[in-house]
Symmetry: C2
């Protein structure tokens, strides 16, 4: 049903502007810059053309039933424009404008009017009060923030749905630093018509989407949502950041999106029953979505840690052994045979006990040999590998080694601390779809997320 | 007593090498690169000179009592070299070499021999088994990792002591990304002679050090350590990352540094009694040290949140209101007067309730006016300000505004999410010594650390 939204033949920008300070200018520029290959129709009665594109006085004058119309007009004139779009045969409306139900009774009336128009038509609506969509595989960017202010991520495997537009834009900007890709970014806005469940339908069948990350402050229909995400989780992992957890933040959330949040402990139980991993902030949301999109499932919770820095191994053991990870993990007990084999690889002052410490003498080929050994030990369910670039024998070759073992065997999560060479390593791991994180804590928690989802899938199947 | 270590007239590198793959080469190169203005004496009988510096066959041939001798030789010849250094009048030895007590009984004998030599002399020893020191105010870098592999931070206000060398180097590398500065980095190694308490004495009286961060796996003398850090905390804040918290990680720690860790809950109570904030990983360690070095104390735990993105305000409220922050904080209840004044600044669809949401319309001058209002509200103890660069009216001017209010009034912590412009903002905030963090969670937890330490100081004084 939403398929045409993801591969439209044409997009109209109603309220396109020549004024660079106007949102109607930014959106048109973003769409042109993103390289959309279809037809683009600026609509604005004031101009004959904008950015060398022919400009139309009204959507009715285009004379081509456009797939998508993006509306950037004052709220009060939007209902009439919606009517025009419907009669022009537009399939999808994206209403960027705010000033509807979120602002009070007057705005609510405008919302109701739009809803009744849409209900009696074949046209579907995203928004209003959305910052737009970013669909990198379709070269579509209808968001209201300019490329000079935020970076947009490359095409990737995470479907990203956000109730908050700003949080979505900021998160996309942040993950771009590491080249982390997404399959689509959807800001739902006021969810007058299309809501998250329909996008879940799309993502479930979209082969490029490996996992979905949702930021939400409220659920429209709890029961329906539960059923939908439980079904989704039995096929693909869904990570949910539900904010407004406490009484006070629930009030803040209702002021923000105009919807009342439900009791958080009920929601928490629902997520867990439905197999969704819960994130508590914007960093965890993407961290977990990555490990879930890139990894096989874990068959148990026993982790082997491989490092060249003893201290990093000790802190990892702390997080794995205590309850600070989100799901109970445990340090694997290596068999005597495994330890004997590891001892043949490492220097005498290294440690063959878990956490395995190769010391600063650890080379990329040592990593290769030790990973080989660990992959054969049935008491190890997953491996946390640190690629720490401060030691002289560490180099980019470690990425090939980890990739080879991850493809052939058990799940691997990589920790890369530092900056100078660490950044290049993180970007390269990401390019190969190997989950890598810049801190001990984030690495261990991501393993916990993978284990939590794996446990749900094991019971379900 | 350690003063000469921080401003030496001369440094000898015993075991300096021309071979670029040798640590004796890296350390000499690091010392030269760091711009040390004193005399540098390479010592190695094989060469007449290295890197255009005259090379001496033995430390006894230098004919100038050097302040510091860095020893990079095989463990078995180190005792003789120590004897030579003592007779040559060297004040401080930094023994980089490993192969001592951490490797077993043979190494222990070498350690004991060195200790007895030192004990009967006026020479002091750091190490053995240390990666070296980095003292940016003195232009001294004796660490064993090359500038091509890790970045070293600029001069700053955090004293950094680490029992793990690699963790120290990786952390310095990581914080360099944001221009976070340190006053000194000390890797204690096996602590045969000088330990953390003497460095605490130095940092306590060092005016450039605003806070100290320690990574440790074990304490030599628990009682003495408690007394020392309690006294220290009554003057300056000390953040401690004590790893080896769980039974399993304690074993890993003992394999790593050869010292047995004590019961963690006892340690935890001790830290809290002594007024130290506890960090649980390498990120928290520096995050907390920064807020403590840069901020005034908080007089209470009531936080006002100022944002241009509603979702960010809601997640912040979650973290502030529940127990996930390290110390119980609470959302400030703004007075009616405060809210009335804020309403005059913000757009109608913004929120004057805490979290205060200026929406995407928030400008830098709005921030200025709202901060002015919040500074006057007696029910607000500290302010969490989000500088979010995705909105068109946000710019670098926000740094000036925050700096002005932070200097004049209550503590401020800044959250900056994203990458493209966010990175520049984070670096600029850091340059002005304003604590700024790239995530909601890290911003709130740092406020919790500041409150925890403030509460200790309030009781103590």
């Amino acid at each position: 049903m939403l398929d045409d939204l993801f591969s439209p033949a044409s997009i109209a920008i109603i309220g396109a502007s020549r004024d660079e300070n106007k949102i109607g200018n930014v959106i048109l520029r973003n769409l042109v810059s993103s390289g959309f290959p279809g037809r683009i129709y600026p609509v604005n009665p004031s101009y004959p053309e904008i950015m060398d594109l022919k400009c139309y006085p009204s959507v009715k004058d285009i004379g081509d039933p456009t797939t998508i119309a993006v509306i950037v007009l004052p709220a009060r004139v939007v209902p009439q424009t919606v009517e025009d779009c419907i009669s022009a045969g537009v399939k999808f409306l994206i209403i960027i404008s705010g000033g509807f139900a979120e602002t009070g009774p007057e705005g609510k009336k405008l919302s109701d009017r739009i809803l009744s128009l849409i209900r009696n038509s074949g046209t579907r609506l995203i928004g209003p009060n959305t910052v737009g969509l970013y669909l990198p595989y379709s070269n579509i960017n209808t968001t209201l923030t300019s490329y000079s202010r935020v970076s947009f991520p490359p095409p990737g495997n995470i479907g990203f749905i956000s109730q908050s537009g700003a949080l979505g834009l900021l998160t996309m900007d942040a993950i771009s630093e590491y080249g982390i890709g997404i399959s689509a970014f959807i800001n739902l806005g006021n969810r007058l018509d299309v809501d998250e469940t329909e996008f879940l339908d799309f993502f479930e069948s979209d082969s490029r989407t490996g996992s979905v990350a949702i930021y939400m402050e409220s659920v429209a229909d709890g029961r329906a949502f539960y059923e939908r995400i439980r079904r989704f989780n039995s096929r693909k992992p869904l990570v949910i950041l539900k904010a407004g957890r406490t009484a006070q933040s629930a009030v803040a959330a209702s002021l923000h999106t105009g919807a009342m949040a439900s009791n958080d402990s009920i929601f928490d139980g629902m997520l867990s029953q439905a197999g969704s991993v819960r994130a508590y902030d914007e960093t965890e949301l993407v961290d977990y979505a990555r490990v879930l999109a890139y990894s096989k499932l874990m068959t148990g919770n026993r982790i082997a840690v491989l490092t060249t820095a003893g201290g990093v191994g000790v802190i990892s053991t702390d997080y794995i052994s205590d309850s600070r990870g989100i799901k109970p993990l445990q340090m694997a007990r290596l068999s005597e045979n495994t330890k004997d084999q590891i001892r043949k690889v490492i220097v005498p002052y290294g440690s063959a006990e878990n956490p395995i410490d190769l010391t600063a003498d650890g080379s990329v080929s040592d990593y290769d040999r030790v990973l080989e050994i660990l992959m054969r030990d049935d008491d190890v369910d997953a491996i946390l590998v640190y690629a720490l670039p401060q030691t002289p024998k560490m180099n980019m070759g470690v990425v090939d080694v980890v990739e080879k073992h991850m493809k052939a065997g058990k799940p691997i999560v990589v920790g890369v601390l530092g900056y100078k060479i660490a950044k290049q390593l993180l970007v390269e791991f990401e390019r190969r779809k190997i989950p890598a994180y810049p801190s001990v804590n984030r690495s261990v928690k991501s393993l916990g997320a993978l284990y939590g989802y794996s446990a749900f899938r094991r019971v379900r199947q």
